[in-house]
Subunit: 140 residues, 3 copies
């Protein structure tokens, strides 16, 4: 990562399929544009970093009735899964993934439970430092 | 739009009544303050740009039981509907509306299905460029 | 508050337990880092500023089935409640709390209904001015 790259910082609070896609499509686009991308996973988002969980992501209660139709459409388009998008971003060398330490304690998640793509276990202070210096900051 | 205007950029991911109001009240206030306002509609938000859909926006599952009461209160206040707010913003000349192209493919929405106020069909890269240069960026 | 402090501005649109924690953990961390913290409560968030309401905050419909387990875990950790976190932030002298005036009208909430920690009743323009000048801006 160079000092000249623009920077995107996202708090991934949500763990539903629609919002993971939202965060990861933004992130993939950002890395394709040579922007550094920092994803800080907390709460339901953090739970999606546990091995095997991202594959099971669902739509939220409000849109649950559209889940089957949407999954079919994505399959028909051969659209990459959230985890595929995450691995692609990672391959760019421009993605850094943070797991929220207080959430890990709250949900009793251990470091060894997390997918290997996680770069750092960190508290909110790390995110605020990052975000203060980012060009675009969002909470999903 | 002038180079000197401050700029607000919002990703409208949500399609529920409460969040459309949130985005559009911020947007209306911004245009009244002479800020350029850029609304990028994706996912459930994009679906609200389909003709006739915004009028049917509902509260999310968590607050569904409050919908009737809220709609009555809004009517009693003669509060403008989300679409009315959008048209007012548009009339200011300071609003630009973007429809997310990958979402359109995913939900099989065609250009001719969208309300005429949409300015541009664009991918996430367009939003990231806008947001990098904005004074306030939010995701709703 | 000094001119040299970094600034965090959050719109608290949500009123669910997970999202109040998200906003308040970020806010507590920010005040501990000597950042000015501005929380603008609107919609469901505003309703949580009514005396006695924050104590009753619940998880959203999607995660309702996890509420009991989560509340037990928080109790086991002796984790501070959302209102406790808010009072701690307030004690730092770095927190300012805004109640959204249009929401108050919509939900028929009076000034005297609000917790005493509220600093100001204000419209969206006040938030946009704050946010234009903030280092980190988020919507929860």
């Amino acid at each position: 990562m160079s000092q000249n790259n623009r920077k995107l910082a996202i708090i991934v609070h949500s763990g539903t399929l629609d919002r993971l896609y939202c965060a990861f499509i933004l992130g993939s686009t950002a890395t394709a544009m040579d922007m550094e991308t920092h994803l800080y996973f907390t709460f339901w988002g953090l739970n999606m970093l546990v091995k095997g969980e991202m594959e099971k992501a669902e739509l939220p209660a409000t849109y649950k009735h559209m889940e089957e139709k949407m999954k079919k459409a994505l399959k028909g388009m051969k659209y990459p899964s959230p985890y595929d998008l995450l691995k692609r971003m990672k391959a760019s060398g421009l993605l850094k993934i943070y797991a929220c330490s207080p959430t890990m304690k709250m949900f009793n998640v251990k470091k060894e439970d997390l997918i290997p793509e996680v770069d750092e276990i960190a508290g909110a202070a790390a995110f605020l430092d990052l975000a203060s210096d980012a060009d675009v900051t969002l909470l999903v």
